[in-house]
């Protein structure tokens, strides 16, 4: 019955665990199980201690979990945008990635929801009052509603792609793309609308988020295909990855351009609050090593000097790129909240507040990193349960007979 709606492979849990015991497979299995265990332990500790288990405070109310939620939804939107290049915009070399990329978009956003579910104080109440008492001027409300619609659309797209119904898949793909972009720029607006925080306030974040998502999508596709084919690509894959590398190179160049003008604008004129914080960020290792070097410069230089040909190096750089993307999300929270809103000394025998420090607790790290385990586990199950490649590329070709 399910096979009629969503074609899938016949596979048992026993068969899922019965993978080829190569050192690499065992490593990936251990990492996935380890991360899932971390998520579980972190979640249990949160259920025992509530928000006290987190390092957030009155002055720094958002922390690592919000950053990680953004990390996941950026990944999801990025995969959706890049996949649409194939089945919506009909770029030939991108056409075969559709299902795999959309499946990636689904599992990353589900992981994101798992994280935000442990950060929002009352998630069930959110579902109720977001519906019956909507605050339509709130960017969080807009984002929540749009991401819910987005998830529905990309799930439909995945089902239709799996059924080889490309006409309707294109329709839902376009819908998913448009709603995804709307949702994601709304997420940027969550920060852009902060009138009291000059570092974040303005048009930059809603636009930057889309660019950043596309870069994340490229990095993830490099990693997904590098992992899938163990770095041995046939002609089709190689052409696709080289085209993807060119696209990534262009996007990274635009990102450098964005960052240059962003910081110049932030510092120019020495505007109170803004310039001081921006200079602090510019000198921080998180920005210099994490965001700039790993997230942008290393992949960009490799693409530039190899003329987008050195696929293997770019795949390795994508791993660093994703670490860089993580720092971008983490710094987004930390930088936005860094400058105190109340700069006078409130408690005697203490110093007046300066830039606010925040360190995630082990519970936050366990939940945040553990959520990557959710993505990895769902990806492994999906790889073995669904048809993530077009018919002609799938080893499980014979089982397509049931479709239609």
């Amino acid at each position: 019955m399910l096979n009629k709606i969503l074609p899938h492979k016949a596979i048992t849990i026993k068969a899922l665990l019965d993978f080829k015991k190569t050192p690499f497979n065992i490593l990936m299995f251990s990492v996935t199980v380890g991360l899932l265990a971390m998520f579980l332990i972190g979640a249990i500790n949160y259920f025992i201690h509530g928000h006290h288990a987190y390092g957030v405070s009155r002055e720094h109310p958002w922390g690592l979990l919000i950053a990680m939620y953004i990390f996941f939804v950026v990944s999801s939107t990025g995969l959706c945008i890049i996949s649409s290049l194939g089945h919506v915009f009909k770029f030939k070399s991108f056409e075969f990635i559709g299902k795999r990329a959309i499946f990636g978009a689904i599992i990353t956003i589900i992981s994101g929801f798992a994280v935000i579910g442990l950060e929002i104080g009352h998630p069930l109440r959110m579902a109720i009052y977001n519906t019956i008492s909507p605050g339509i001027t709130s960017a969080i409300w807009g984002m929540g509603v749009l991401y819910s619609i987005y998830l529905g659309l990309i799930v439909m797209e995945f089902i239709l792609l799996s059924r080889d119904d490309h006409k309707w898949a294109k329709f839902f793909g376009l819908g998913g793309l448009l709603v995804g972009i709307a949702a994601h720029s709304n997420l940027g607006a969550v920060f852009g609308f902060l009138v009291g925080r000059p570092l974040a306030n303005g048009v930059f974040y809603p636009i930057y988020f889309i660019l950043s998502a596309m870069i994340t999508g490229c990095y993830l596709l490099f990693l997904m295909y590098g992992y899938k084919y163990r770095m041995n690509f046939d002609d089709d894959k190689e052409i696709f990855l080289k085209h993807l590398a060119r696209l990534l190179g262009l996007l990274l160049a635009i990102m450098l351009f964005f960052e240059f003008w962003r910081f110049l604008t932030l510092i120019y004129g020495d505007v109170p609050e803004r310039a001081e914080t921006a200079l602090h960020i510019l000198k921080s290792p998180n920005f210099l090593i994490g965001e700039l070097l790993l997230g942008i410069v290393i992949p960009f230089v490799i693409i530039l000097y190899s003329k987008a040909e050195a696929i293997h190096k770019i795949i390795w750089a994508s791993l660093g790129g994703m670490i860089g993307i993580f720092f971008m999300r983490y710094d987004l929270i930390k930088d936005t909240l860094m400058y105190p809103m109340q700069t006078l000394k409130k408690v005697e025998y203490q110093l007046a507040p300066t830039l606010i420090n925040y360190s995630p607790t082990w519970t936050e790290w366990f939940i945040a990193l553990g959520a990557i385990g959710i993505t990895l586990a769902m990806y492994y199950i999906g790889e073995n349960f669904f048809f993530l490649d077009p018919k002609e590329n799938d080893d499980y070709f014979d089982h397509y007979q049931d479709i239609k």
Partner: protein, 187 residues
């Protein structure tokens, strides 16, 4: 129906913190440095001995600014933050989902998490306590030994706050961001 506001003659403040204590006592605020609806900010004297600037060593009592155009109300996804009939910014703890967006959006750091309800709490001008009992002053005002605070209705031209604002120069905090605070500081 009123339009409540507060005028602070902040130069009279002696930083005795009686207002902080009265607020906690009247409104049942939890103990702990982070858990406060109101506070007194103090500035250290600037300069080096013997040329210390006494003028810079002042105290600035503060609390929720009860903005007319409150960013916390704009950003609330469930309308848990709302203006009551007296123009006071309130939080409906039944609707609050503790997304903490209002804490991030508030330019005055006037909100905190109440651990009993696990929702956001803030100054309400004693709406649920003293005003509900028919009194006309807030706890912080009533207890102040140097009469820093004056509380009243802006819409009533004969109220004390209206008279002070008509006759004395005053300023608000962070006016450039357009929140239109209703806490006025007399110069």
């Amino acid at each position: 129906m009123a339009n409540y506001a507060m005028v602070l003659n902040y130069k009279n403040c002696i930083n005795c913190k009686a207002c902080e204590v009265a607020c906690k006592e009247e409104n049942g605020i939890l103990l702990g440095a982070e858990k406060h609806r109101i506070w007194v900010g103090s500035m250290n004297p600037e300069g080096e001995w013997p040329f210390l600037s006494i003028a810079s060593a002042t105290f600035l009592p503060s609390q929720c600014q009860q903005c007319e155009n409150a960013p916390c109300q704009d950003v609330c996804p469930t309308q848990a933050t709302y203006y009551d009939k007296n123009g006071v910014v309130q939080v409906d703890s039944e609707k609050c989902i503790l997304c903490s967006y209002c804490m991030v959006a508030c330019p005055y750091d006037a909100r905190y998490v109440d651990d009993r309800t696990m929702t956001i709490d803030k100054c309400t001008f004693c709406s649920d306590t003293r005003l509900a009992r028919g009194e006309t002053t807030t706890a912080c005002q009533a207890t102040c030994p140097t009469k820093v605070r004056t509380f009243g209705d802006l819409d009533d031209p004969n109220s004390e706050v209206s008279q002070i604002l008509r006759t004395k120069e005053h300023f608000t905090l962070k006016p450039h961001i357009g929140t239109k605070p209703k806490l006025f500081y007399i110069i």
